[in-house]
Amino acid sequence: MRAAALLATALSAIAAAAGAQPSVEPRRFALGVELSAAVGPEDRGFFNYTSYEDSAQRLARLSLTAEWHLAERVALLGEVRDENLGTPRVYALYARVRPWRDRAFDVQAGLIPPVFGAFSRRRYGGDNPLIGYPLTSRGAGWRVRYPFGWGNPDPEPGLPLVNALRWDTGVQAHIGSGRFEASAALTQGTLSSPRVHDDNGGKQLSARVAWKPVVGLILGASGARGEYLSRDVIGALPPERRGHDAQQAWGVDLEYSRDRWILRSEAIWSRWQTPMLERSLGALGFTAEGRCKVLPGLYAAARLDHLGFTHIDGPAGRVSWDAPVWRTEGGLGYVPVRHVLVKVAYQHNWRDGGRVRERALLTSQLVVWF
């Protein structure tokens, strides 16, 4: 929290300096609140766990967002979240500046939204037609404990491909507002492990380009590379093993919407260099979802997810380094009044390994926002 306060002070100073330019619009402040509460059975297979050791299927989240326009082209944005009545956390806190009025070029600095992919920038409650997070974008890896990767000698849960529950700290630039858009960011952590404090002196460079050939169709391609091992771990490695500690990821995403339909798909290929292995550990995640409004205020949605892993050679032969997972999820969403959404979703998970290999979950969720 102290770091967040310092960051907010610094961003205010930046924004105030940039805001000295003439303003043609009144300053305005917008506040948003989103409350979501999901009730479901215990997820013994840890298929839906977030980065804070909670299951998305049994999650109450309060999210407060704010956008303060200090001047015509300068805004401060922030989000604070509380999950299951735990400690509130700063999820986003950044300044947005448009240096030139007539150019679609924006710079954001602070605890910023990721430029990689598409899902991580969507609001969880209202923009997610179902309840679960895609397998590519969960908050943590599986419950399997790994001895390193976080600069901690104690075993911790593994890493996700993309951590959708935390954002990274850094600076990003975005250009374009028509058919072509491009974004690039330089941040402290990596897609798997976004950070406020840099723990290894490395930086992640990530970028995304998007093409909108027709209204309603968005095609995106992303890439990212950054060091994910902490300084402590790197220091414990033999000298010849150092320098092999990057996460590299590539992604493609698609969104097509028309009439009552929205179709979205995203595929992410990630590989982590591991100093003690000759070959990198790779994972491929794929998700495809669709939403169709069947009546005013009522929609049906479905999602297919898969997460697969590359193979390594071990004592038992050539095996996948983690257990591949498949998931289907389908559900209904009903909006009785504006700003209230009730979801019911059935999720079925299969994993090719581990103690719990199959798990079905029927979950309901209430989302309220204004």
Binding site: G32, E67, R98, P113, Q172, V215, G216, R258, P296
Partner: protein, 222 residues
Amino acid sequence: MRAARLPLLALAVAAGTAAPRVAGAAAGSIRGRVEVTREPPAPQARPSIGELSMAPPRDLPNRRRSVVYLEAAPQGAFEEHEGRAIMDQRHETFVPYVLAVTVGTTVDFTNSDRTYHNVFSLSKPRRFDLGRYATGQSKSVRFDRPGVVRVFCEIHSHMSAFILVFAHRFFATTDADGRYRIDNVPPGAYTIVAWNDGEARETRTVRMGEDGGVMEQDFVVR
């Protein structure tokens, strides 16, 4: 803001002593001005936390425009109406912000923006969802029940508008100067209402004389 209400739009003929008469009497007009002194708050979009750029400029809706109407309409005023009206979507704003129509009117929701819009309403008099459609396209909704229909865009949270559906034709929307005029009002006692931005702001009783004429009724909405 209080819930949008227009409870008596659906009223049929006023009964009893207040029942206005139509036959054999001269119809008059009610005109005046609605001065809106309150400063309507600008519609706010939800904070754009997940965006990578500034939102494009958009127009502000004209929330000073009001509707003046008679709460109880004279006998014979309920003729069938098959009109058409347009509510455009332009610079992420519904234009007009307030549309007053009679029952049976079909409203065309045109899209003049370069982005998708998704018009919908969950109001009881008319629930609909037009889905997403692009620039240059239009979708229509017929309004067959009187009442207030609140209209939104599913994609742009700051977009909203009102459609007031009347069972009679004794209503008028104010012009840019706040002026209105309701013609062909038969003699009788009426309740006249000034409605602005989701609420009936002022209600008063008026009496149209047997010889018709023009009656002045000004309102101040604070």
